[in-house]
């Protein structure tokens, strides 16, 4: 295996709240090889977005970050702002969840593409415009010349997300972080966008982190999947392996809770009881313990480490794996 492009070591993120500090990310380790795809799955509040913001160094001002984020040989945590700025775009890019809010409503599509090209590649306006048209065409936007002059609100949701992807891709980044890129979109559009991402990722040999709450999204489109719960990665395995043999009860319950198309109507769903723990009050044991049907006293008193005791290539954090 080649040297990892990204290696995240023991990341913790603490957010101040009136109820005390909230540990949003709790000791996460990840590695990502160049050109490969990692899916991060989890419910809202599990820390997946904070993790991605930590990697992007876009955490809220008052958040406290611990650990190391090695990206292409540099530690992003200790990088100077100017170095970091140069890194963003040509090396590291992001696509956010809602293109309506991630594109500036008062600037034209053209401005928003061109400024990135100019900032990093030093293109003159004409060249940058031409390149912008190419990029828009590449992400499947019809009549790209006209779009350059339009504002985000004049485009449909899917088109906006395509624009956002075009901007992210504009400087040929080595790593693209797609943070719930399709959550705000309709199902029919979601499939198109996911395909677009997959296609571009392969064509550019770009590494990608795909963050989502939907196991269905990562199933066919990632090399590896990390499942997060309460700020921690609770299971991590190559995608096919994860879906064929889940070890963590949470992962399994999550999959089971999705309504199935092939079950008849009015079938009661196997719901996970309760709700995620309050992360301002960390539990001593396994954080899934209160909702876990297999939990026992051991789970309550000791936190299971993320490990691969079976040496089968899949990591999980559970005392009672399935």
């Amino acid at each position: 295996m080649s040297a990892p492009l990204l290696s995240v070591e023991g990341i913790t993120v603490d957010l101040p709240t009136p109820r005390g500090p909230l540990r949003a990310v709790d000791g996460v380790d990840l590695t990502l090889a160049p050109g490969s795809t990692l899916g991060i799955v989890g419910e809202s509040g599990c820390g997946k977005t904070m993790l991605s913001r930590a990697i992007l160094q876009l955490l809220p001002k008052r958040a406290k970050l611990g650990g190391r984020i090695m990206f292409a040989g540099r530690d992003l945590v200790t990088l100077q702002p100017e170095e970091l700025r140069r890194l963003r775009g040509p090396e590291l890019a992001v696509v956010f969840q809602d293109p309506m809010t991630s594109l500036n409503p008062v600037l034209t599509i053209g401005t928003q593409i061109v400024e990135t090209l100019q900032a990093h590649l030093g293109m003159d306006t004409v060249t940058a415009m031409r390149r912008g048209v190419e990029l828009l065409a590449a992400v499947g936007i019809p009549a790209p010349e006209q779009r350059l002059r339009q504002y985000p609100h004049q485009l449909s949701g899917g088109m906006r997300q395509r624009v956002a992807i075009a901007i992210a891709l504009s400087c040929e980044p080595k790593l693209l972080i797609a943070d719930e890129p399709t959550t705000a979109l309709d199902v029919t559009v979601q499939a198109q966008i996911l395909d677009l991402l997959a296609r571009e990722q392969q064509r550019r040999h770009m590494a990608m982190i795909l963050i989502t709450h939907d196991l269905g999204v990562v199933a066919g489109r990632t090399d590896e999947v990390a499942v997060m719960y309460a700020g921690r990665v609770v299971e991590r395995a190559p995608t096919p392996k994860l879906f064929t043999r889940m070890r963590m009860p949470y992962t399994e319950a999550l999959l089971a809770a999705i309504p199935k198309l092939d079950s008849p109507p009015h079938t009661p769903l196997p719901a996970i009881a309760g709700r995620p723990p309050d992360q301002t009050r960390p539990l001593k044991g396994c954080s899934f313990e209160p909702r876990c049907r297999y939990a026992d006293d051991h789970c309550r008193s000791a936190k299971p480490p993320l490990a691969d005791p079976e040496r089968a290539g899949g990591l999980f954090a559970c005392w009672h794996p399935l």
């Binding site: 963003r88 809010t101 409503p105 008062v106």
Partner: protein, 316 residues
């Protein structure tokens, strides 16, 4: 666009009508009238009645308003009974002074407010932010007339850098004209900046939390570009509104500043007209001021459209 303009115009007329009518009504509440003022110590009831009849003051208020309106519609704003000046001449002589004061003052206040607001928004919650927001409060409790006097003592009397009262017409000497506007404009700007800064600061703080700012950072743009291009424009809608209202208000003259710095502006004309019960001038000034206010409102609406394309494309 033409439709938009037309709609605005249709809105303008009733507002102007209402304002001028209100002025008529309110002015009629004032004790004393031009007739008693002109006649003064020989104001016998008969003489007053005769003079009132001569000036048309004895007509019912509706009729007087009608006559005035008819004149205005025919381009005749009337003529002061007291000075013989036409309203047009009186207002056009004063308006440029008030406008220049207002423009310089507002520009100056924006020049102070915008960088401070950006600074405070970026550093929100820090000691720096608290210092400037506190300063803005401090200004609130320091009235204009005190600021004016302090400025005069400092810059005109002690340092002798700037004139205290020496307004010079622009046509006569543009440079001296500007110099004479510095102190009054600074006084005005001093009054306006805290409000503008507060408004922009809080909007800016909200904007800086938007996804598209995170996106702009993720794109690796320079901080200056992020602040000035990506954040400032969408944050400035309330600023524009408040500045618009303030400008609208200042078209009516900044009376205290005009008085202290002896600027021949609309504010003093207005007060003079009220004190002399010179209602023709009063009506004329109010008409201009109200029209100015509506026009500024209109410009603010246009600015909205410039600032926010969503409004421009009719999907507000």
């Amino acid at each position: 666009m033409a439709k938009f303009l037309g709609r605005r115009l249709l809105y303008l007329l009733p507002v102007l009508l209402a304002v001028t009518l209100l002025t008529f009504l309110v002015a009629s509440l004032l004790p004393g009238d031009l007739a008693t003022t002109i006649l003064g110590d020989q104001a016998t009831p008969e003489k007053v009645a005769a003079l009132r009849a001569e000036m048309g003051l004895d007509l019912p208020i509706w009729q007087r308003y009608g006559i005035w309106l008819w004149g205005v519609l025919h381009g005749d704003l009337g003529r002061s009974f007291r000075t013989g000046e036409t309203v047009w001449a009186a207002v056009t002589a004063r308006l440029p002074v008030s406008l220049e004061l207002m423009v310089i003052g507002v520009v100056l206040s924006l020049v102070i407010a915008i960088p401070l607001a950006i600074l405070c928004a970026v550093k929100s919650g820090t000691a720096l932010d608290r210092f400037f927001t506190g300063l803005a409060f401090g200004k609130l409790s320091l009235p204009n007339y005190m600021v004016a006097i302090l400025l005069i003592y400092l810059f005109a009397v002690e340092l002798n850098w700037l004139p205290a009262t020496g307004w010079v017409p622009f046509a006569e000497d543009p440079l001296a004209n500007l110099r004479s506007f510095i102190l009054p404009a600074v006084t005005l700007a001093f009054a306006e900046w805290p409000v503008l800064m507060r408004v922009l600061r809080s909007d800016m703080i909200a904007t800086l939390q938007e996804d598209y700012i995170a996106m702009a950072k993720a794109k690796g743009l320079r901080p200056a570009r992020i602040l000035l291009v990506h954040a400032l424009k969408p944050s400035s809608l309330t600023l524009v509104t408040v500045a618009g209202i303030n400008i609208g208000r200042l078209i009516g003259g900044a009376l205290i500043v005009e008085t202290i710095f002896a600027l021949p502006g609309i504010g003093r004309l207005l007060v003079g007209a009220i004190y002399a019960r010179d209602f023709i001038i009063l009506q004329g000034v109010v008409l201009f001021v109200a029209a100015g206010f509506v026009v500024v409102n209109f410009i603010v609406d246009m600015l909205y459209a410039v600032l926010d394309p969503r409004i421009r494309h009719g999907r507000a």
